[in-house]
């Protein structure tokens, strides 16, 4: 109650005290009047006897106050008044912090959601991920490795496996929709220690039985959140599944940021993909998570994996073709698995790290800029601080006041920064989301604010407020009353701003511009270097044929009709079909060899293999150097297939002769190359194509075999899975329209999994480079703007403060054109120091980025020169208005002004 009194009855207490004192004085005066004094004298004597009434009131009030809190509140009120007096500068300072914090929030929100966020399972830090890795790629493990590892390891309670999510057509009753499916081993929920929100997991479900678990969101939207969902049937790829459970609300799959709608047992991958999906030793498509036993460390799991690996490789692949040859550089690794598996993380982890580095630089620049603003403000108030100190104020009180005033800038900057940051994060995600062909619904990638992001940004803001306010506060508290009170010109009071804040800003700007140049140059090189494709005027599509149930000759004829319908669309020039679209990031490898005319055997252990129709090359814009695949027909029945090699592979197999009409052979399991020449495992070279960056534009062109097939005579899609097509037309929109019209005309029941222009595919492929280039460019522009604003603000304030000095100089005959030279000299000293330091720092930053991103930083000198020129241009631009203002000073006005 007393606390409430102190908080809410302070005015009442003050009023009562005033009444009490008044009554005391009146009573005293009456007593004196009773002794014979007149009223006036009695009242005066009463007041004299009482003493200082105001002092008494103040001392009485202090009893009920919290002195430290009162002082803090007073500092807040004072700081707010000072800041609102110079509204323009305050707004600029707040916006500076808001933009810096906004960039930090946006990038950290992405980093949190993509890289750092743990799976919503109990003790996620006890999860570990197993994968075969060569240090660059970590594709996963094969089915045989998973089974053997599960039997032989002892550091985890169990291992769960899951494979790449698939987009499939799901039918429930009369509803059909395209959904993301996750195939997970039956022990999945047990290893994750998850309890279903409804029903059960896969454990204990009898075989053969097709149980399905729904995601919480799918259950809510499709089944109304009803318990009656249990036991209902879903049809996926012509198989009926029975719903046995619902995942917990917070769990959104093991592949982070791509929440599936339905979970089915892992063996279903042999239906959706290929029968040997889980048994083929070279199919490293399984992701594996284990839960460490209590007391077991990650290093123990790693040691165990190293010890088990040799036997695993031998027993999982007795032929030695895959693990002994193709993947001989891949080793079993164990990594922390708290975040699950995420291709997003694998793709964007390093770019986000680079962005965090750039954001740190940007925040440093914001700190330097705000410190400059505060130093400029403090330097103009030295007289005031000197007077306060002379009147008895403590230096700590002045220190506190300045820190509080700086914090008042930081707080609205934080709030605005958080809002800007979330808007920025949503924009980034929507940009990234459009790139994800794998997601059925990009809006499922939910970027939500949470306590961690708010806490991190609040901590960053506190650090900024403290570091920004520290130097100005120390400067203010060190004020010397004896000197500063005598100084009549505020500008020559002790402690000017100095050149170092300018130098810091310039150095950071040079770094950021140089980094932006490096990353922009990297993107430009990837876009302009010859890729082996002509990206313009072409479109691609992946079409799911499973609803059509194609088979045999009927399926082939239907496929041929579709191909003809596509070719007949207006504007279409070429239509090419392929088993694996270029720039998809997916690839199949095989081992093959050749025997040249000198009977030398040339082996290549890791050749990329894809199937294409003859028109593919024209469709993709890949030039054929020699041979004419279109004139070669696929021989029916058994025998050598026709194939085209890329130029590098042709040279490798037949270094001294033309490869055309030569044979190459796929290696036989367990036999050395050359021992078995099986025509059924061979192909006849009918053409040589130029090298093309088939897998990704950022990777060099792989050694590639294009196995030919002809739609009219043989369609490997007659079993009804997917068609992947590339269409070249007069324009991109015509190509896309042609695809959609042909599908509507010939394949009405099917659904397009993904369609895009060829340039769009390239943009997806280079998504992270584009993100880095655009964001680093934005940060660089912001850095230049902040540097320019900082310089401009500093000089304008200096001109305002040193008006009297300028007036005296002009009155004494100084030239108006060069009046600002002495001051500008100081500024350019800072710029010069900043440029020198910035170039060194930019070199270090560029090297760091190049190493992280595997870039070749050959353009450092050009980048630094451009950065230096831009910063100089900004500096000159910022100096001009203050110089003009100084030149326009009227000496008479300046001398009269105080």
């Amino acid at each position: 109650m007393q606390l409430l009194n102190r908080l809410f009855r302070r005015n009442q207490i003050a009023k009562e005290l005033a009444q009490e004192l008044k009554a005391h004085l009146e009573e005293k005066a009456e007593a004196l009047m009773g002794e014979g004094m007149d009223r006036l004298s009695a009242e005066r004597a009463a007041r004299l006897a009482f003493g200082n009434i105001s002092h008494t009131e103040q001392q009485s009030h202090v009893v009920w106050q919290w002195p430290r809190l009162e002082r803090l509140l007073a500092d807040v009120r004072y700081g707010a008044r000072r800041l609102t007096k110079s509204f323009g500068i305050t707004t600029v300072a707040i916006m500076t912090l808001a933009l810096g914090l906004g960039a930090s929030t946006a990038v950290f929100t992405l980093t949190w959601n993509v890289v750092l966020k743990s799976l919503p399972v109990p003790q996620p830090r006890r999860l570990v991920e197993y994968a075969m890795s060569n240090g660059v790629a970590s594709p996963g493990v094969s089915g045989p490795i998973y089974n053997l590892l599960r039997e032989r390891q002892h550091t985890s309670t169990d291992l769960l496996g899951w494979t790449t999510d698939k987009n499939v057509i799901v039918r429930h009753g009369t509803q059909t929709s395209l959904r993301t499916l996750q195939m997970i081993s039956r022990n999945g929920l047990r290893v994750l220690e998850l309890q279903p929100a409804l029903g059960s997991g896969f454990d204990g479900q009898p075989e053969p039985y097709f149980p399905a678990i729904l995601s919480f969101d799918f259950w809510q939207t499709e089944f109304g959140g009803s318990p009656a969902a249990l036991g209902q049937t879903l049809v996926i790829a012509n198989h009926s599944f029975t719903v046995v459970g619902v995942m917990p609300r917070a769990f959104t799959g093991l592949t982070a940021n791509l929440p599936p709608s339905v979970y089915v047992p892992l063996p279903f991958a042999t239906v959706l993909d290929s029968a040997d999906y889980l048994s083929m030793a070279g199919n490293l498509h399984l992701s594996v998570l284990g839960r460490l036993r209590p007391g077991v460390s990650l290093s123990a799991a790693r040691a165990e994996a190293r010890a088990l690996e040799p036997a695993l490789r031998r027993d999982a692949d007795p032929s030695g073709i895959y693990l002994g040859q193709f993947f001989k550089d891949f080793h079993l690794t164990v990594q922390p698995g708290s975040s699950g598996n995420s291709w997003l993380r694998a793709t964007y982890e390093k770019p986000l790290l680079i962005l965090e580095l750039l954001v740190a630089f940007l925040l440093l620049l914001c700190i330097a800029n705000t410190t400059l603003v505060m130093l400029a403000r403090i330097s103009g108030r030295q007289h005031e601080y000197a007077l306060s100190l002379a009147l008895g104020a403590r230096r700590t009180a002045i220190f506190q006041q300045v820190v509080v005033e700086t914090s008042l800038l930081a707080l609205p900057g934080l709030v605005l920064g958080l809002l800007l940051g979330w808007a920025g994060a949503h924009y980034l995600v929507s940009t990234l989301g459009a790139d994800w062909a794998q997601t059925a619904d990009a809006s499922q990638f939910a970027v939500r604010p949470n306590g961690v992001i708010i806490a991190v940004n609040t901590a960053v803001t506190l650090i900024i407020a403290l570091s920004t306010g520290l130097i100005p506060a120390l400067r203010a508290a060190r004020s010397s009353p004896a000197f500063d009170l005598k100084a009549t010109d505020r500008a020559i009071a002790k402690g000017g701003v100095g050149p170092w804040p300018i130098a810091v800003q310039v150095a950071l700007s040079v770094c950021m511009v140089s980094a932006a140049f490096l990353l922009g140059d990297a993107l430009l090189r990837l876009l302009t270097e010859h890729s082996g494709f002509k990206l313009q005027n072409a479109a691609t599509a992946t079409i799911d044929l499973s609803p059509l149930h194609w088979s045999g000759p009927d399926g082939t004829r239907a496929f041929a009709r579709f191909a003809d319908a596509l070719r007949a669309q207006p504007g279409v020039q070429q239509v090419g079909f392929t088993g694996n679209l270029p720039l998809s990031g997916h690839f199949a490898v095989s081992r093959a060899f050749s025997i040249d005319q000198q009977h030398h055997i040339h082996s290549e252990p890791s050749v990329y293999v894809t199937t294409v129709t003859p028109e593919y090359f024209a469709g993709a814009g890949t030039d054929l150097i020699s041979g004419k695949p279109s004139q070669s027909s696929y021989p029916p029945g058994k025998g050598a297939q026709n194939c085209v090699l890329n130029k590098a592979l042709g040279r490798s197999y037949f270094p001294a002769e033309s490869p055309i009409n030569q044979l190459i052979y796929f290696s036989t399991s367990g036999k050395p190359d050359g021992a078995v020449l099986d025509p059924a495992a061979s192909c006849r070279i009918v053409g040589v194509a130029e090298d093309s960056r088939y897998v990704s534009l950022r990777q060099p062109a792989p050694l590639t075999i294009y196995q030919m097939f002809d739609v009219a005579t043989n369609s490997e899609y007659s079993t009804g899975k997917y068609i992947e097509v590339i269409v070249r037309a007069a324009t991109e929109s015509l190509a896309l329209d042609a695809i959609h019209h042909a599908i509507t005309q010939e394949l009405p029941k099917t659904a397009i999994t993904h369609s895009d222009t060829f340039i769009g595919r390239a943009a997806i492929d280079l998504g992270r480079e584009r993100m880095l280039a655009s964001l680093s460019g934005s940060f660089a522009l912001l850095a230049l703007l902040l540097t320019g604003l900082g310089l401009y603000g500093l000089l304008m304030r200096t001109v305002a403060m040193r008006g009297r000095e300028i007036g005296i100089r002009l009155a004494l005959g100084a030239s108006r054109r060069f009046i600002l030279v002495p001051l500008a000299r100081q500024v350019f000293h800072g710029v010069g120091a900043g440029l020198a330091g910035g170039v060194v720092l930019a070199f270090v930053l560029d090297q760091t980025i190049s190493r992280l991103f595997d870039l070749h930083a050959s353009q450092f000198i050009e980048g630094s020169v451009i950065a230096a020129l831009l910063v100089c241009a900004i500096s000159v631009t910022a100096v001009v208005p203050p110089a003009r203002r100084a030149a326009a000073v009227d000496p008479m006005e300046a001398l009269r002004a105080e």
Partner: protein, 102 residues
């Protein structure tokens, strides 16, 4: 301590307290009137006294202070402490050979 002792004898308002202390000390103690009220606020805050508005004998609206049970205990404690201090000072100041204790 003197304020608490005065209030122990009878509740009083500020001016009356000043008069009481001066009268009881035969005007040897002159209370600085301005310092009385901060002291009363401290006593109020620590709940050694309580206060309520009323009307004085001279029909004036005054705030009368009354000692509380906690105030009585505090008064006794201070009295014992003061007594000990007084005895100690007297012993130090007593001439040599004078009987110890008073």
């Amino acid at each position: 301590m003197m304020v608490l002792e005065s209030l122990r004898r009878q509740p009083a308002h500020g001016y009356a307290l000043v008069q009481h202390i001066q009268a009881r000390s035969n005007n040897l103690l002159q209370v600085e009137e301005g310092s009385l009220y901060p002291a009363l606020q401290r006593l109020l805050k620590t709940k050694l006294v309580r206060a309520e508005w009323g009307v004085s004998a001279t029909s004036r609206r005054v705030r009368t202070y009354t000692i509380t049970a906690a105030g009585l205990r505090e008064l006794e404690r201070k009295r014992i402490g003061f007594r000990q201090m007084f005895d100690g000072i007297a012993l130090v100041l007593a001439p040599e050979g004078a009987p110890s204790g008073l």
